[in-house]
């Protein structure tokens, strides 16, 4: 091979490797995106049933119940307009409280129960998870338009 050809081969090799990497990245990206839905969207049937997604809102006051095993907790997430029952098995984060914002990731069962695999709470008492804040904001906006 002439040096020029060799250089060309090297460039082709690098581009091919990058192409494979990009294909890999985009494929993984596509299959691992987790979408967010507000309780209103879930109630309207916009959320997928076969795929994990996130919900957010407030933990409805008085809705937290612990099952007999001591580990499974049931609570209701609301955006002040609609609400979804959630079940989670495990230890909840420190900042999980009734009346506070929460984001949960999991799947929606056919019975309408959201089976959470993860409950997120951030590191600050006054901090509202942005997803939860936006869900409430949108629900309130929607309600206002109905009233008007």
């Amino acid at each position: 091979m002439k040096p020029r050809h060799r250089k060309l081969a090297l460039i082709v090799l690098v581009v091919a490797a990058l192409g494979v990497a990009v294909a890999l990245v985009l494929n993984a990206f596509n299959s691992n995106l987790v979408f967010f839905f507000s309780p209103t969207q879930v109630a309207n049937g916009e959320a997928p049933t076969g795929r994990a997604f996130r919900i957010g809102g407030l933990v409805e006051a008085g809705s937290v119940r612990r099952e007999a095993d001591g580990l499974t907790t049931r609570f209701v997430v609301t955006d002040t307009a609609r609400s979804i029952p959630v079940a989670y098995t495990g230890i909840l984060p420190d900042l999980f409280k009734e009346g506070k914002g929460v984001v949960a990731e999991g799947r929606l069962g056919t019975d309408g129960l959201f089976d959470a695999t993860q409950v997120l709470a951030k590191h600050d008492e006054n901090y509202m998870p942005p997803e939860a804040a936006s869900a409430i904001e949108q629900a309130q906006k929607a309600q206002q338009t109905i009233v008007e």
């Binding site: 040096p3 060799r6 081969a9 090297l10 090799l13 690098v14 490797a17 990058l18 990497a21 990009v22 890999l24 990245v25 993984a28 990206f29 299959s31 691992n32 995106l33 987790v34 979408f35 967010f36 996130r54 612990r66 095993d69 001591g70 580990l71 098995t89 495990g90 230890i91 909840l92 420190d94 900042l95 990731e105 951030k122 590191h123 600050d124 008492e125 901090y127 942005p130 997803e131 804040a133 936006s134």
Partner: protein
């Protein structure tokens, strides 16, 4: 009085930074040595005044001066003294002040260790660092004054975020910033080289030790952050692919690529344009990291919008720095002459592969971090990209990189022989394959990912040995003398690569063989996990200086023999009312036993939910990372960086004598 003094010192520092930026850069362009000579004293003076400002802020924190808004927001009279001091950089304003202080430190370091650099080069490097200082000081003074007064003064403070009250967090931010800001030196060298048009091997040799030291600090900072998250968040995880983590990981990946690309530029004169670009990109990513973490854009793009002055300033600054440096690059880089050629299989081509893979990994992290922000900002819906994406991308990208890492250091520059390397590494490959297949069987069953991890770890470790064997074969004298005579850069590289091997082994085990259980425990009840028996002995009140806590006692035994007694705590901090889980860990070389308290259960006497973890080999990860840090510092201390500089000094002396 003291806070005003600090504010005043910051203003003087800004004026000095302006002097440090403008006069030397102008002087270097004009060949005016008087103006160039301003660079060093201005940089040192600026550092002194920023240090004064920092000391004033620390003083306000230590003396509980709640008439300063920053202190009132982030400190508390009951906070232990050491945390009152670290609260100095716990806030947005304070951490930016720390950023500038560290930039001043690096500028001063350059001014001291650049005596042997050509005068115009030193003036340009220090001048560019002055420009960065100007940007950050102006940001502090206009939008984030740490000395803002609060009238009337608060009676007491809001307390520091309890999660930050940990000694891992005391040293994590300074180390991380030493890394972030350290890349400003490599950036300044690159800009100086572009400005002067003298982009030669000497430039690469000057940049190299600075880049390596910054990289080592950044590695240390990231590891401290990871270690903190592991112990303090109570979830037993050590890396979450959280945007704040990615913000520091992206400059690390780019910095790693830069270190390796600089090696080619220094040794062979090749990859020049690429290396310069990497130096620019690495620092741009450091700025992006600062922007992501400090603008509030991560917690919410709306939070960013609520304080538009701050966000807009950093974003504008980022745009100016990146835009200007890329424009300069586009203008100057095409004129650079590329150095020595190389064949498809050589150390150069292997390092090229390293760079290609690292950049692909960087792109993947960048996409996963910025895309959700972009979607949200455009109002296109909220999405999140979690660990599954990053894991799915990282493992297949890193596996070939780690395999090539074993070959690279053994391949010759310019042209390496594949058959020769194959014969030399046959045994290493065989042993690594066997280890990959057999080692998982000694643990809890076969697992293909653990197998891959073991194979790569053993492969890298053996190739490190092979490199030493190569070096010992040649030359005279005893093995010990030869080992002692090896250059520090060689030792450093091998140590860092060995650190990767140790870390990969740790990750392979901890990611695949960890065990965890959330259990309900009554007083005196047992729980089994990974062959250990955990016995709960109840929880008792145990109050700290600024919190109240329930402190549990958990006895751990194995086969009837006591192993450890752990005391996890559930705290409630007095000022903020915030609850926090303080996990308790019993470490050893092969595993951590980790216990975190959940909640007390109503209706049963003293029962709690408790989370138990068995984390095998987790400490290998930290130890591997520390080896990498040590390797970085050792490589940067290589004699040749000093000797090379001295050699250049000789003609200058002769010239001086002649004149």
């Amino acid at each position: 009085m003291i806070p005003e003094l600090g504010h005043f010192a910051l203003i003087i520092a800004l004026l000095l930074a302006l002097t440090q930026a403008i006069l030397p850069l102008y002087g270097a362009q004009r060949g005016n040595f008087t103006l160039m000579a301003v660079a060093r004293p201005a940089a040192q003076g600026q550092f002194v005044f920023v240090a004064v400002a920092f000391a004033c802020l620390a003083y306000s924190f230590l003396t509980n001066d709640f008439s300063v808004e920053n202190v009132a927001r982030n400190s508390f009279s009951q906070l232990p003294e050491v945390y009152r001091f670290t609260a100095t950089w716990g806030s947005h304003e304070g951490s930016l002040l720390l950023w500038v202080l560290i930039l001043g430190f690096w500028s001063t370091a350059v001014s001291v260790f650049s005596r042997r650099l050509p005068e115009d080069m030193a003036a340009r490097v220090i001048g560019v660092m002055g420009l960065i200082s100007v940007g950050f000081l102006a940001f502090l003074l206009t939008t984030s004054n740490p000395f803002e007064r609060l009238l009337p003064a608060a009676i007491d403070g809001n307390d520091m975020n309890p999660l930050l009250q940990d000694w891992g967090m005391i040293i994590h931010p300074p180390m991380l910033y030493m890394g972030y800001v350290g890349f400003a030196v490599a950036f300044a060298f690159a800009i100086a080289a572009l400005l002067s048009g003298k982009l030669d091997v000497a430039w690469a040799r000057w940049s190299r030790p600075w880049t390596t030291v910054a990289w080592a600090f950044l590695t240390l900072g990231i590891v401290l952050g990871s270690w903190w998250a592991y112990r303090e968040l109570g979830w037993g995880g050590w890396w979450f692919w959280d945007p704040t983590e990615n913000a520091s990981f992206m400059p690390w990946i780019a910095g790693t690529a830069l270190m390796h690309s600089l090696a080619v530029t220094e040794k062979r004169g090749a990859f020049k344009a690429w290396t310069v670009l990497l130096a620019l990109v690495t620092f741009a990513l450091s700025l992006l990291g600062t922007f992501l973490v400090r603008s509030g854009v991560l917690s919410s793009v709306h939070a960013f919008a609520t304080d538009p002055a701050r966000g807009a300033f950093i974003l504008g600054f980022l745009a100016v720095v990146i835009g200007a440096s890329l424009a300069l690059y586009a203008w100057r880089a095409p004129k650079m002459i590329t150095g020595g050629g190389f064949t498809w299989f050589s150390r150069e081509s292997l390092l090229l592969a390293n760079n290609v893979i690292l950049i692909a990994a960087l792109g993947a992290v960048l996409l996963g971090t910025l895309y959700p922000l972009f979607m949200d900002a455009m109002g296109l819906g909220k999405i999140s990209v979690g660990p599954p994406y990053f894991n799915a991308v990282f493992v297949p990208l890193m596996a070939p990189a780690l395999f090539l890492m074993g070959i690279g250091p053994l391949a010759r520059w310019k042209e390496a022989s594949l058959p020769d390397l194959a014969t030399r590494l046959k045994w290493a490959l065989g042993v690594a394959l066997a280890a990959g297949l057999l080692l998982p069987l000694t643990l809890d069953g076969f697992n293909p990912w653990a197998s891959l991890g073991f194979f790569l770890a053993v492969w890298i470790a053996l190739t490190v040995l092979a490199a030493f064997r190569d070096r010992l074969r040649h030359g005279q004298g005893s093995a010990m003398r030869k080992l002692a005579g090896l250059p520090r850069s060689f030792w450093g590289m091998q140590l860092a690569h060995l650190g990767i091997a140790v870390g990969v082994a740790g990750i392979a085990v901890v990611a695949n063989y960890s065990a965890e259980r959330d259990v309900r425990m009554e007083v005196g009840s047992h729980a089994e996990l990974a062959g250990y028996t955990f016995t709960f002995r109840g929880a008792a009140a145990h109050d700290g200086p600024n919190y109240r806590a329930a402190r549990g006692t958990v006895e751990v035994s194995r086969d009837g023999k006591p192993v450890a007694t752990l005391h996890p705590e559930k705290r409630v901090y007095n000022a903020s009312g915030m609850g926090m889980t303080e996990a308790s860990v019993h470490p050893n070389v092969f595993r951590d036993l980790y216990v975190a308290m959940g909640e007390p259960l109503d209706g049963s006497d003293g029962a709690w939910t408790v989370r138990l973890f068995y984390k095998p080999f987790i400490n290998w990860l930290w130890f591997g990372a520390l080896l990498m840090v040590a390797g970085g510092f050792m490589a940067a201390a290589d004699k040749r960086y000093r000797i090379a500089l001295r050699r250049r000094e000789v003609p200058q002396h002769l010239a001086a004598q002649g004149a």
